[in-house]
């Protein structure tokens, strides 16, 4: 069962929920798809880490064959190629690796080589498998890293996979939830939080993913995120109260479930509820 945890807005508690949900499960895999700013590994401090470099293909020119026809320069929509002084210049960081220039070079002067854009680290924390994606600073797209992370879980016969998604609703988030069985939306009770909750709500509906909401940092008084959910008949799976204790644990990158029985219960119940939801969804509706 693959659970994607997302939020729209940053700082609502995606990592708090995904890390603790994974910790509450037995035999789970935690995958950090927030490749620009991965944080889960700070909590798990994984051991026996194996690293895999992730590469993208970039074109390389053989000057002996290049005759300066410029078909590649004119074709590239990303402007990753320039031709001056009888030389082709390739801009690796701009290249989107579409392979077009290599395909259309009439002199076959272009070939491809691998360029490192980031890495995936795989390690263990207790019985949990921890997979982290890290994009190198300056690189444009984390999508190849996410693809690698998620391809890895297809063959693992684990009961629970928790996917910690990037904030927002751009294509990098879409890539993260593509294979999810269930989406957990984490919302905070602020004006900004609700506004961004609405965005990921639209996203999960577009992808037809079963989903539910976790209200985090709940305070007294009216909760605009709760109102949003009630107005739309959205299932609220858990309400985590704002707590200085939890805040302190999290700011110290401690896993609440492993430090405090109270939180072990909160996240174990949440996990049970999600499992039930997924099974309900699996049952064919009349």
């Amino acid at each position: 069962m693959r659970i994607a945890v997302l939020s729209g807005k940053g700082g609502t508690g995606k990592t708090l929920v995904s890390v603790n949900l994974a910790a509450a499960a037995q035999d789970a895999v935690y995958i950090d798809c927030d490749v620009e700013e991965p944080n889960g590994h700070l909590f798990f401090k994984p051991q026996h880490v194996q690293e895999e470099e992730i590469t993208s293909k970039v074109p390389v020119v053989d000057d002996t064959y290049c005759n300066g026809c410029r078909k590649c320069v004119d074709f590239c929509r990303f402007n990753a190629l320039a031709y001056t002084n009888d030389r082709l210049i390739v801009f690796d960081e701009i290249c989107h690796s579409c392979g077009g220039c290599v395909m259309l070079c009439p002199e076959k002067a272009l070939t491809e080589q691998d360029k490192v854009i980031g890495k995936v680290q795989r390690g263990m924390s207790g019985s949990l498998k921890i997979h982290t994606g890290i994009l190198n600073t300056g690189e444009a797209s984390g999508v190849p890293i996410i693809k690698n992370l998620l391809a890895g879980i297809k063959d693992i016969p684990h009961s629970t996979v928790v996917i910690d998604c990037p904030p927002g609703s751009a294509c990098i988030v879409m890539e993260s939830i593509r294979d999810a069985d269930y989406c957990l939306l984490v919302a905070e009770p602020t004006l900004f939080g609700v506004h961004n909750l609405a965005m990921v709500y639209d996203l999960v509906k577009l992808f037809d993913k079963p989903f539910g909401v976790v209200l985090n940092k709940c305070l007294e008084g009216e909760n605009p995120a709760e109102v949003f959910c009630l107005d739309r008949d959205i299932k609220i799976l858990s309400r985590i109260p704002f707590s200085n204790d939890l805040g302190l644990l999290t700011s110290n990158a401690e896993i609440a479930v492993r430090k405090d029985e109270k939180y072990k219960e909160v996240f174990s119940s949440l996990l049970d509820v999600v499992i039930k939801e997924v099974h309900c969804e699996a049952t064919p509706h009349p």
Partner: protein, 122 residues
């Protein structure tokens, strides 16, 4: 020889554009004949690699020197490969900069900034 300046409008009285790669137009000034031509910057609406494309336009128009307030490292790589000198504009006035260039009082642009990767579609 030809010198180029990124400009805001197709008018000699216009201001120097603060950006090279995303300038709407370039003024190409021929120093021998003192003729001015304006060309559109087709890189303007490209989601990415605008500096590179703009620099390629300079190369293709046989420009010898570029007068600009700023230039990114990708564009600068293309320009330097083609032997195009980059000078730093000292005011917003196109006329003033052309005159300074003729007098040889414009400084070379030393401060090349990092690329912006301002592209989308991923």
């Amino acid at each position: 020889m030809k010198i180029a300046i990124p400009v805001d409008e197709k008018d000699l009285g216009t201001n120097v554009c603060v950006s090279f790669g995303r300038a709407p137009y370039f003024l190409i000034y021929e120093t021998e004949t003192e003729e001015s031509t304006f060309i559109d910057n087709s890189a303007l609406t490209n989601p990415g690699g605008a500096g590179i494309k703009a620099a390629q336009i300079m190369v293709d128009n046989q420009v010898s020197a570029l007068l600009t307030p700023r230039c990114g490292e990708n564009a600068s790589k293309v320009l330097q490969s083609a032997g195009i000198k980059i000078f730093k504009t000292t005011s917003a006035s196109v006329k003033e900069n052309i005159d300074a260039s003729k007098d040889g009082t414009l400084p070379l642009l030393e401060d090349i900034h990092a690329g912006f990767h301002g592209h989308g579609g991923d």
